[in-house]
Amino acid sequence: MDYMEDKMKAVNYNPRLRLHLFIVLVVSALISIFFGGYFTRFFIAEIAILSIFAMSLDFLAARGGLVSLGHAMFLGIGAYSTTIFILNLGISPFIATILSLLIGCFIGLLISYFIVVLNGIFFIMVTLALGEMFHAWVFTSELLGGSDGISGIIRPDISFMGIDMNDPFIFAIYSLLWMSLIYFILSRITDSPLGRNLDALRQNHMRLSAIGGYAKVYKIIAFTISSGVASIAGSLYVQLNGFISPELTHWTVSGEGLIMIIVGGIGSISGAILGASVVYILQHELSNFISWWMLIVGLLFILVVLFMQDGLWGLIEKLRLRLLKGKNKI
């Protein structure tokens, strides 16, 4: 059985549109933060953090061609390590985020060394199993608060700079800053020789090795970067919510992340942000009105998978092309 031929489809590589979409999204977020209330600001911060997670999945799926159903594990690693750093070791939360990034990268490196040789569906399954393993462990670990999780985690204290992180306005901006930083880093990597090679790897790994590409090494790097980014998301999430519970590491979280990127358009980075926003807002709004929102969300997912191959990104690109054409005619 040859799963080698399963190739992931990604959206067209288009750095300009990616940047434009990103600017629009950030501007929208900023408007919401300025004019929205307490809840809106929290909501935006949450979306920003989820976007970081979605971007990490997107990077992995589109660049390395690796679909991970266990990525929530890194969310959890980031979250729990931050918690331990803050509560048990008294490290300042900002440094804790950086440290959890390093831990995430390190564990990602270790794991990827063993699993990147697997292809297609086996990779999905193994990541799923690893993620569940981590979930099960966290769920029963007394040190990590077990099923109840840990609460009472503080945010970065930078009051000496006259800024109060506990103000949701500030924290929303802080999350957006992280999101933008990660967006720029990931875009940069995507455009770099390595990023292009990762894209090539997804498209045709035989050919890539024939011209001298170290397929396995690239995959390991992609996985490591991606897990580090996911850890940052986890670390920020803990600081936003002030608590951590094992639910965060369940495999369905990874599944929802994948849905976000497929809705936004795989491989476009800013599409991941768009997808995260749309899916999250949709879920939130729907569950306020009807109790069987899952049915509707499920149906929408299926429709997107079936009829919108490139997600919202594809839609935007089509729209843009049409507008450009219209312009040229005049």
Partner: protein, 269 residues
Amino acid sequence: MTLFLLSAGLTIIFGLMKIVNLAHGSLYMIGAYIGLSIWTISTSFWLALILAPLFTALIGYLLYQVLFRHIQIADPMRQVLLTFGLIYIGLDSVRLFWGTMSHSISAPNILSNSIIVLGESYPSYRLFVIFIGILIAALLYIFLEKTKIGAKVRASVDDPEMAKLLRIDTDKILIYMFALGCGLAGLAGITVAPILGVEPGMDMEVLVLTLIVVVVGGPGSLKGALIGSLLIGFVDSYGKVYIPEIAQIIIYAVMAVTLLLKPNGLYGR
């Protein structure tokens, strides 16, 4: 043994169609619920046992016609997500139709006592479940290995293009095999209902376990599903009891080791 029924169905779908069906657990749950309804209306367990799998197979048939037909050639990611959407739908439709209460089905009277096996009393219904598992395994074996249709099926698995050249109607075979796989999930659902009950959320509980069995056994291999389910089932039940410290992790560890040693599963091609 339930695990085998489930995995056999999934492995057929998995190996034959290369579809990653995360909704397999949902079909199992729906099978159990349909069985519950039939049992409540007719009060006959045997009728439920026969009809529930048929209905589930029918649902599978419809799903294939409406959805899976279109994503058969898609990349695994899309399949994963489509079936992920199906999980959502399955969960909510069960809730809308049957409510949120936990239900239970009584085993028929003949099977409600205990039997003494090797000096230990053992519920006879459990023996019945094992019997069904063996029966299905034998039937599937005969069907796939000894009959003409089975040969065609195997041909479609091994080399779809060649099979098409030999004028085997692979599309038709795929539909029926998909329905069969779903029917087996339904059968598993109704068979275990008297032991494990019928409740929302039962889909997720078996899904991961089933996927692991299929991956360990090797996708597309019936023998793999059988050995895999025995191995995982055994490790799962006894591991929990005798080494509780790592009970949660042990089956994943088994899977990881298997895949490191044999990347295509025990009996993978």
